[in-house]
């Protein structure tokens, strides 16, 4: 499998680990519909990518629904690209694919994971019309925020940002106005809270037409994605990605 194939697998898999068939498994396996595939018991040797919760599963057994049961069963060292479909007393995974765990594939998977971890920010940077550093001077609710429609209402506010530097795009004339969701509802709590005093990197785009375009002046930007506002500590990371965007990616990420 080439590097691009591995990148696709990493992007699709929520749980990637190195492990192999558990030959000595004698217990019961979870019931699944026959059409789903076959279940193979595997041992998780090392977790390569997962949520924090699943990271602690190294050294444990898991069941993998696979359509290539023999290959999984017979190999002791695979890199399995899976998604978790049942986490209870047992861990049930669905295999997306697997590769033999050679030095080369291990290196390629590690690189792909790194790229995948960076991908959201990279995409956010690439999609941003304006990236600046600055401070929020003031903010005020929009008209809609005065009569929220429901508990998931974003309670939009308009922040005025004093720009310190421009990393991408052209600094607008006058004040930079940024629409943000002040709600801490489940739907919005990860969204940047640009209250006065907030200082950092702003990754901005115009308010989306089908979202909040009518909530703010046409010149206003919006920052509603969690990655739209970053602490200044990440400036080098952002600048690096911006540089890659202008001058190409690092060699080791171009393969």
């Amino acid at each position: 499998m080439d590097a691009e194939g591995i990148r696709r697998l990493v992007a699709a898999a929520g749980f990637i680990f190195r492990g192999g068939g558990e030959h000595h498994w004698k217990g019961e396996t979870p019931p699944i519909p026959p059409e789903a595939g076959e279940i193979v018991a595997v041992r998780i040797e090392h977790v390569l990518r997962s949520t924090p919760v699943l990271r602690g599963l190294a050294g444990r057994e898991a069941f993998v629904i696979t359509r290539r049961a023999d290959a999984v069963r017979q190999s002791r060292s695979l890199i399995l690209f899976t998604e978790c479909i049942s986490l209870g007393q047992q861990l049930l995974l669905r295999e997306i694919d697997h590769v033999e765990a050679s030095d080369q594939t291990s290196r390629e998977v590690a690189e792909a994971i790194g790229e995948e971890d960076e991908r959201p920010l990279r995409e956010r940077i690439a999609g941003a019309e304006l990236i600046v550093t600055g401070d929020v001077a003031e903010s005020e609710p929009t008209e809609s925020a005065r009569s929220p429609k429901g508990e998931h209402d974003p309670i939009l506010q308009l922040a005025r940002v004093v720009v310190k530097s421009v990393l991408k795009g052209r600094k607008p004339a006058g004040k930079l106005e940024v629409l943000f969701a002040s709600s801490i509802d489940i739907a919005w709590f990860k969204s940047p809270k640009l209250h006065p005093g907030a200082s950092g990197i702003f990754l901005l785009r115009r308010a989306r037409e089908n979202e909040f375009a009518d909530e703010a002046p046409p010149t206003a930007f919006q920052a509603t994605d969690p990655l739209d506002f970053l602490p200044m500590e990440r400036i080098a990371e952002v600048e690096g990605m911006l540089g890659e965007g202008r001058g190409g990616r690092r060699n080791d990420r171009q393969r």
Partner: protein, 812 residues
């Protein structure tokens, strides 16, 4: 009434490291299989799936749970799930995707595959909605029987007045599902609030309750449809005084502004609604709503007994409470669940309480399910605990879910709790899979409150083996019946069978036992026949597992009579007219008393003892010597059988006896040969008649066979009985006067069977020395003899006779 309360933190063990704010819980219990449950909270996919979101699933009645990515959408927001009554289908109403209402997906979902291998089927989808709250039921009978009908109340954000609506399907279990949308709001409301709740009765009565914002206050409105929501127009069975569909329970409600105009603790409060209908009577319906008046947010519960036309004054009010849920079980018992902040502001607790009542809260059975810190953890987002929780009733049981601080502290859960995730209750610390501490967070807790059921637990010594009990006797054992259940135990019968085992007679059932109480019941084993016995004590009660059967056993060992007699029953020689007694030893070699009812003899020579009053009773190990008498009536050997009849199953026992009755034995001693006797002299001989046998000899007669004047018995003691070894003399005299010697036969008669008549011949002759012998003619013979005798001066042989000849002559 005592209930069984169980509570479990449903975060799976393999998720022990998680610290999510897993709030806003909802629970679906499959009425067709209550082992199957699905719960939802704001819990992310375990593997951060870019496409799917999880539900909690249990297939063992809530003992263990697993997260399964069944929802094809992420991230999810509001979610509710319900099982239809009998089909096994789970239906869901889920918001997911964009945070913007305009783009936020509202899916109505269905599945009956909980393997995790497939996601739920999307039955309908649209955007711009809020708080979908699903209810489902399978039509039990009549038109549409077997069809799944689902009702998803929500708040439609598409119209300007954001009305309460119902999305419903009248046949949601088929492949191609059609849904329709009904707008409940019929008044000129500025808008409706997010909560739209429904209650379904199996007869097709559907209630819906919603808040209607009609400035300056809010109405609480109940609408009803009497035909599964398919009436035309639908949900207009209740018309209020304003002529509008929907009865207004209250028109003065004040609600905090959306989305977070009021916080109780860290929990935002923006209205609460709950509704439940009595499954036994569709006219009885309860509603709970929240109202913020005078700075206090209060939950009110009201009741209608005429299908929502009229409503009671509040039958229950809870200040500072939120997240209510109502459910009515199959016994018309109302459950009221809510969360309440208590305590001083410095140490506030979220108290989750379930109240149960059968009399509209005149009396309340209350269970505090959780009493957890309200200040920690700090919230990550709103809602802190959830804008709702849920509870439903299946049969008599109440199932529900709520969320709370997950500190593993038993004191926080007064009704008990179990955790699947790793937790150390001693240190009150959550642990990850490597036993590292994990921060506290908000977790979902599922509870089940079932009417307490008694459970029969029994104990009896030796596993119910009464051991050996003799026939006619009995043994008692205490059977301890303990109520090991969670509710009152009503024992309605204790029956022993077969009749060898006896239970006590109870004057009046039922016997009531409280939880943990026990009674001792005497059980008697009184065998009615010999041998091993097996029986059963059947205890009938309100224990769901009734009847409870206790196996009992016992043995009635057979009596065992052993007989012993000396010399194998040979009594030896016993003379007729005499007797010998020998003891016949009756020994009870068994473990139970033996009764002897008869002792008989087959022979009159052997006599069984006369017993005045039978039966004789011989205890275990005891012996009784019965005298057996041998008293022969005749000579010779005798035999007989002594028969002992008893309670020994081997009875009758026969003992052979024998004996001998020997006769006397005649012997005659002495000489009867006189030889020559001088003429006219007399000579005597003594003859001893003896008994040389072992028994007495009756000599009945000693006499001469023929009379003769020459022979005389001078001494004859007979008849006489001769004792063994004794003799009596018989003196025989010979008078020598006969011319010619003649023998004389002495006859001895006795009862000697060997010689009943013995003849002893006596021989003698006369010595004629006077010379007249040869010349003695007949005619002068007497003279001659006389002369001879006269001349005879002495008797050299014999002695002079002094006897009278006359008599001798007479005897010739």
């Amino acid at each position: 009434m005592t209930d069984s309360v169980s509570l479990i933190n449903i975060i799976p063990n393999l998720s022990s490291a998680e610290t999510n704010q897993d709030c806003e819980a909802n629970l679906a219990v499959n009425p067709a299989n209550t082992l199957e449950m699905v719960a939802t909270t704001f819990t992310p996919s375990p593997s951060a799936s870019p496409t799917n979101s999880p539900v909690f699933y249990s297939n063992d009645g809530g003992l263990t749970w697993a997260l399964k990515d069944l929802i094809a959408g992420t991230p999810v927001l509001d979610q509710t799930m319900r099982f239809a009554t009998t089909s096994g289908f789970l239906y869901g109403g889920v918001l997911w995707g964009s945070s913007n209402y305009a783009l936020m997906n509202f899916d109505i979902l269905r599945t009956n595959d909980f393997s995790g291998a497939t996601t739920m089927t999307v039955l309908a989808n649209r955007t711009n909605d809020d708080q979908p709250f699903v209810e489902a039921m399978t039509v039990p009978s009549g038109p549409g029987a077997g069809q799944d009908r689902i009702y998803v109340g929500s708040n439609n954000h598409a119209p300007g007045n954001i009305p309460s609506i119902l999305d419903l399907s009248l046949n949601a279990g088929v492949a191609a599902v059609t849904t329709s949308t009904i707008t409940l709001e019929n008044r000129s409301a500025s808008r409706d609030w997010p909560q739209t709740r429904t209650a379904i009765h199996p007869n097709g009565t559907i209630y819906a309750v919603y808040y209607s914002d009609i400035s300056p206050a809010w109405d609480v409105v109940v609408a009803r449809d009497d035909n599964w929501g398919s009436s035309a127009p639908p949900f207009q069975a209740l018309i209020d005084t304003d002529g509008k569909p929907g009865i207004r329970l209250s028109t003065t409600v004040n609600l905090p502004s959306l989305p977070s105009g009021l916080y109780i603790g860290q929990e935002r409060v923006n209205g609460d609604l709950a509704i439940a209908v009595d499954p036994n009577n569709s006219a009885i319906v309860y509603v709970c709503w929240g109202d913020f008046q005078g700075g206090t947010y209060t939950l009110y519960v009201v009741k209608s007994t005429n299908s929502g036309a009229n409503w009671s004054a509040p039958i229950r009010t809870i200040n500072n409470g939120t997240n209510p849920a109502l459910a009515v079980n199959s016994k018309s018992r109302l459950g009221f669940l809510y969360q309440l902040v208590t305590g001083p502001s410095s140490n506030q607790k979220w108290q989750t309480t379930l109240e149960l009542t059968t009399d509209d809260f005149a009396s309340i059975t209350s269970y505090i399910l959780a009493n957890t810190p309200a200040g920690s953890p700090g919230k990550a987002f709103d809602p802190y605990l959830g804008d709702y929780l849920s509870m439903s009733a299946v049969g008599q049981s109440f199932y529900g879910v709520f969320t709370a601080n997950n500190t593993p502290d038993k004191a926080n859960f007064p009704s008990g709790v179990t955790y699947q995730r790793n937790a150390n209750f001693a240190t009150k610390t959550l642990l990850d899979l490597s036993n590292n501490p994990v921060s506290v967070s908000i977790d979902p807790f599922v509870f089940k409150v079932a009417p307490g059921v008694g459970r029969v637990v029994t104990a009896i010594a030796d596993a119910g083996n009464f051991g050996r009990v003799c026939l006619g006797s009995f043994a008692d054992e205490e059977l301890t019946i303990d109520n090991g259940g969670s509710g009152e135990l009503l024992i309605t019968g204790i029956v022993a069978a077969p009749p060898d085992f006896q239970s006590p007679s109870v004057l009046s059932y039922p016997i009531k036992l409280g939880v943990g109480d026990a009674i001792d019941i005497p059980i008697r084993f009184a065998p009615t026949s010999l041998g091993p016995h097996a029986g059963a004590i059947t205890i009938t009660s309100n224990d769901p597992a009734s009847p409870h059967i206790v196996r009992v056993s016992g043995d009635a060992p057979a009596p065992r009579l052993s007989l012993a007699i000396a010399s194998s029953g040979n009594f030896g020689a016993v003379c007729v007219g005499s007797f010998v007694d020998e003891p016949l030893l009756l020994n009870n070699s068994g473990r139970c008393p033996v009764t002897v009812s008869a002792v008989t003899s087959s022979s009159s020579a052997f006599m069984a003892p006369e017993v005045l009053s039978l039966p004789l009773l011989i205890g275990p190990g005891d012996s009784l010597a019965l005298p057996i008498r041998f008293a022969p009536a005749g000579f010779g050997p005798a035999a007989g059988v002594i028969t002992v009849t008893s309670s020994d199953p081997a009875s009758p026992h026969n003992v052979r006896v024998s004996g001998d009755a020997p006769p006397g034995k005649l012997a005659v001693a002495g000489s009867t040969t006189f030889g020559g006797v001088n003429a006219c002299c007399c000579a005597d001989r003594i003859l001893s008649v003896c008994n040389v046998g072992d028994c007495a000899l009756n000599v009945t007669s000693v006499h001469f066979k023929r009379k003769s004047r020459h022979w005389k018995l001078l001494h004859n003691p007979f008849p006489a009985k001769l004792r063994p070894g004794s003799c009596l003399p018989v003196v025989i005299q010979y008078h020598a006067t006969e011319k010619v010697a003649r023998a004389c036969e002495l006859v001895i008669e006795s009862d000697d069977p060997a010689t009943p008549v013995k003849i002893v011949e006596a021989l003698a002759y006369t010595i004629w020395e006077c010379g007249c012998k040869e010349g003695c003619g007949k005619e002068d013979c007497d003279d001659c003899r006389k002369n001879c005798c006269d001349k005879h001066s002495s008797c050299r042989q014999g002695y002079p006779c002094c006897d009278d000849d006359d008599e001798d002559r007479k005897g010739e």
